[in-house]
């Protein structure tokens, strides 16, 4: 096994062994504390361009299921959240070379190698996580043992963060048949589970890439769903503009997830800020400010809506019980709302899945 290292921008080095593709990459280093669900996590488009550290020490225990079949595209009957591994690189303590599961056809390492994604094991991920917690997310380089820091910056492949949404959204409009209600999904790098969640509840989805003109699709749909996505919401001002000029005037119900929450917040006139090290885990407690009920949620975001910046007709809906940050907003006068966490889970707890039911009920009742 080839020696490899993770080099942080501040000069810290973590040495380990390679178990993925033999490539050298760079990207923002972030950590996720989920204990299960690496297949879903690694294919989550919100990780585009980032080097992911998994804090749970044993990864790959249950292997990786069979690759996705290309046809028919309108059926998403697998555990993948998109067609490929999205992370720039993976950092773990130990990769299990002997997975066991009835669904397993290949090891995590084989999968990553086949997708051209480098990965490193034998890293003290806890020490690394503590560093990220204390210093905030930093840029990192996943390189060969012998590569010098100067070379690392020069020769590693990285992703232009302003373009990550364009890289992860669908190439063209896809329609998923599920039922009479039609939901327009504005895809800024959507997880496939969002589509599954809607279709499973008996509604159809028109999945439109965010850079398309939404107007023609707005006419035929009954509600609008804003998806999750990678990167800084402020790089998506064209979509914010579309929300303001096309979606808001249509008056149709809106529900946003993750980046959808940030985009809705910006369109409402609010502001977004970057968190020191983000929320990436499956155990984030949120509280509904109306009912006082609490839910354990799955999250993956580095930016957050600033509660204080919201205009008078908008209000915070959910709050993070741990650090008090915003977890959702709602309009006081219109059927528009969004959440910062992932009600579609995958991976993570399904506590908040009822939000899709509520949204579809709302869409059904406002249908003309």
């Amino acid at each position: 096994m080839q020696a490899m290292k993770l080099l942080l921008a501040d000069g810290t080095v973590y040495e380990g062994r390679s178990f993925g593709a033999a490539r050298e990459v760079s990207g923002e280093v972030v950590f996720n504390t989920g204990m299960s669900g690496y297949v879903e996590t690694l294919t989550d488009p919100s990780y585009k361009g980032q080097i992911l550290v998994l804090t749970y020490p044993l990864q790959g225990n249950y292997g990786v299921p069979a690759p996705r079949k290309i046809e028919p595209l309108a059926e998403l009957r697998d555990k993948y959240e998109s067609g490929r591994v999205q992370v720039q690189g993976l950092v773990v303590l130990r990769h299990s070379p002997n997975p066991s599961h009835y669904d397993n056809v290949r090891t995590l390492g084989q999968w990553l190698a086949s997708e051209g994604v480098p990965a490193i094991e034998c890293v003290d991920t806890r020490a690394l996580t503590r560093k990220l917690r204390e210093h905030g997310t930093v840029e990192g380089f996943l390189v060969d043992q012998k590569t010098s820091p100067v070379d690392a910056r020069a020769k590693t492949e990285h992703v232009e963060m302003a373009r990550v949404c364009a890289m992860t959204t669908v190439p063209d409009v896809i329609r998923y048949e599920g039922g009479p209600l039609k939901i327009l999904l504005v895809d800024t790098g959507a997880k496939d589970s969002i589509v599954r969640s809607i279709v499973a509840r008996g509604a159809s989805v028109i999945r439109v890439p965010f850079h398309k003109d939404l107007r023609p699709y707005l006419k035929e749909c009954d509600g609008v769903l804003l998806s999750n996505g990678p990167g800084d919401p402020k790089d998506m001002l064209s979509t914010v503009e579309q929300l303001k000029t096309a979606v808001f005037p249509s008056g149709k119900p809106i529900f946003g997830v993750c980046m959808g929450n940030q985009l809705l917040g910006l369109a409402a006139g609010g502001n977004t800020v970057k968190l020191k090290y983000g929320h990436r885990s499956q155990n984030q407690p949120v509280q509904d400010l109306l009912t006082r009920r609490c839910y354990v949620t799955s999250q993956n975001h580095g930016y957050v809506v600033d509660d204080e910046s919201l205009p008078a007709e908008w209000e915070p809906w959910f709050v993070n019980v741990n650090d008090g940050s915003n977890e959702g907003i709602r309009c006081r006068t219109r059927p528009w709302a969004s959440v910062q966490f992932h009600p579609e889970a995958a991976p993570g707890p399904e506590d908040a899945a009822f939000l899709f039911d509520d949204f579809l009920r709302l869409v059904g009742s406002t249908r003309v």
């Binding site: 973590y14 950590f31 504390t33 989920g34 204990m35 299960s36 669900g37 297949v39 879903e40 804090t55 749970y56 020490p57 044993l58 225990n61 249950y62 555990k79 303590l93 130990r94 299990s96 002997n98 997975p99 066991s100 599961h101 009835y102 669904d103 003290d124 991920t125 806890r126 020490a127 996580t129 503590r130 917690r133 885990s281 499956q282 155990n283 984030q284 407690p285 509280q287 006082r292 009920r293 609490c294 354990v296 019980v321 741990n322 650090d323 889970a345 995958a346 991976p347 993570g348 707890p349 399904e350 506590d351």
Partner: protein
Amino acid sequence: MFGQYLPKKPRRVLILGSGALKIGEAGEFDYSGSQAIKALKEEGLYTVLINPNIATIQTSDQLADKVYFHPVDPYFVEKVIVREDIDAITVSFGGQTALNCGVALDAAGVFEKYGVRVLGTPIEAVRDTEDRRRFVQRLDEINVKSARAEACHSEDEVRAAVGRIGLPVILRAAYALGGKGSRICETNDDVESALPKLFASGLPQVLVEESLRGWKEIEYEVVRDARDNCITVCNMENVDPLGIHTGESIVVAPSQTLNNEEYQLLRTIAIKTIRHLGIVGECNIQYALDPNSLDYRVIEVNARLSRSSALASKATGYPLAYVAAKLALGYMLPDLPNAITRRTSAFFEPALDYVVCKVPRWDLEKFVGVEHKIGSEMKSVGEVMSIGKTFAEALQKALRMIDIGVDGIDPHKFKFTDIRKELKEPSQRRMFAVARALHEGMTIDEVHALSRIDEFFLSEIADTVRLGRELEDHAGKELSAETLGRAKKQGFSDKGIAKRTGTTEDIVRDLRRRNGIRPHVAQIDTLAAEYPAETNYLYLTYHAQADDVQPSWRKKVLVLGSGAYRIGSSVEFDWCCVSAILAARELGFETIVLNYNPETVSTDYDVSDSLVFDEITFENVLELWERERPYGVIVSMGGQVANNIAIRLHRAGVKILGTSPESIDGAEDREKFSGLLDKLGIDQPRWTSTGKLEDAEAIAESLGGYPVLVRPSYVLSGAAMTVAHEREHLRNYLTRATDVSPEHPVVAELEGGRDRRGRRRGRNRPLGDLGAHRERRRSLG
């Protein structure tokens, strides 16, 4: 602030304890009861405890306001309710004993009569979980699958039910503790032989259940408040498949072989079920999961704190009993703080960045003629918990912790005449049989087919066996730093490495230190380092590159715990340990505890200033000694486990507080002890000590022939001490003595004269009284 969801604040609360320790109900209920009392007292409530077990922390004077040393049964509880003017009661912190007592009192109308409120889970919900027929019915209401089962009241009903469900089946008694009296029946003959025993014990209900042998067994610990906020604190996976009682199984937390879909499927069902049943506080739900599909069955719900919840508390750092008590008083989960970080909320699900492994300890050798196979009935008397970064590291630690004289995964320790049978019909030595089979070249698939242990665990064990063999190949040569580092990460002890490479522990330690291979201290913080922890709940691992916390400069003492509960060493040593900690704290010392028993109060992280949850071995104590530089080490509270390493620690320069290690040695080493008695002119039986098996027989003759009393050094409560009536006996027992006390091998002593009961046997003259020795024998608990 008092919990806002309880209409009226109680004044005087009665807590039911679990009574005498028994198999299936041990120290864990001392831990949960103590936490509950602490939580109630914080609210300014007057607490009354009923528990006749004097060896517990909960009955010591600093906890409950009043303690009644009475049996936990309806008659006495009612008397106390009247006498103490009780207005609220908790029944979920005292195991099955307290729960059954609560159900009986409720049925008798006692609570209603005296206006006593039951805090936490309502008795109605308890009945739903305990009565099998109602349980299945309640689960059917929400379309949750339970194991197909029928409750029968006569032998004929059982036969008919077996016919409907189909063989194999499990026969189980309702309202029973630790699967008592339950067994798996493969054939009709098995059913027939089980029937008389089941009904003879006067049980009203016998359950016939479909056998899901070979399925994965998964548990979730669920917490719910009165406002319906609900979380799963921890999930656990049994390494042993279904068919072996969870108390008899090796258990890991979190689950290792479940993917997200399976994990969340079971989690969602757990929350749905617990909400439907209306449990308030803590409970445990057990599942069977098909290893080849998403098919599952709910096996049972325990509507109370259990052994699993004590384990889950220690495994995650989430104080389940404390939180459950607060919820019973009407608090909401988000109102309570996370006890470890103190800045986040108790409404969250811990994220672990380590693996926890629980291994039970059996003492079946103590009983002659007892069945050594393990199954659906609990026989283990204690358990250990280990923490590591990988399954192998944790498992190897745990196998050493149970203190049966093995060095982790050791394929050579036990001899198996029929290894395939051993794998198929597990005994308490099954892990060693697995290791042996893999060592002999059996494939993982074959071992899996026989044992039904998941291939993931088997391949991790196979890796360890392979590395063990690599070490053996190095015998006589010096290990490379790389190999040594790998071995330490795989969980091998210095001693284990020394044994395999044919050298000594000291040499391995020197080599390790020369190469800078040292363990690092990692924190258990419930959030996988996402937030800083305020509590020093620690373990050692060789997978870390840096310490999480730095040692303080305060004057401190290291207190060694007593390890696994076993016959002769149980909750009383925990009491000693906790009392020592409190005393040291009062004197202004910082206290560090080293212990690994999850069923204890001493391993509660808020009892001491820091808790190191790890092995109590010479190797570890020395590491801690050099890292922490304490004022001294207290060994006298840790029973035999701590005593056994005292002299070596002393020789290595560790300061032992209290009785000097030489004196400990003088008492523990039978040769020195008997020599001392002779010197002081104190009468004792004629004796001779020996270091060799062969000599023993000659010595027995020289003492005047059989019977003779054989007693090894450094053992607990007469472990391996016995009366040998003939040559064959002697030979057998001496072989066993070396197993029990390998450190001080065959320094066995032969005392001619009386047998244990002091009766005269044969023609030998008694030469002294054995009373002093007899007193050291204790019963279980």
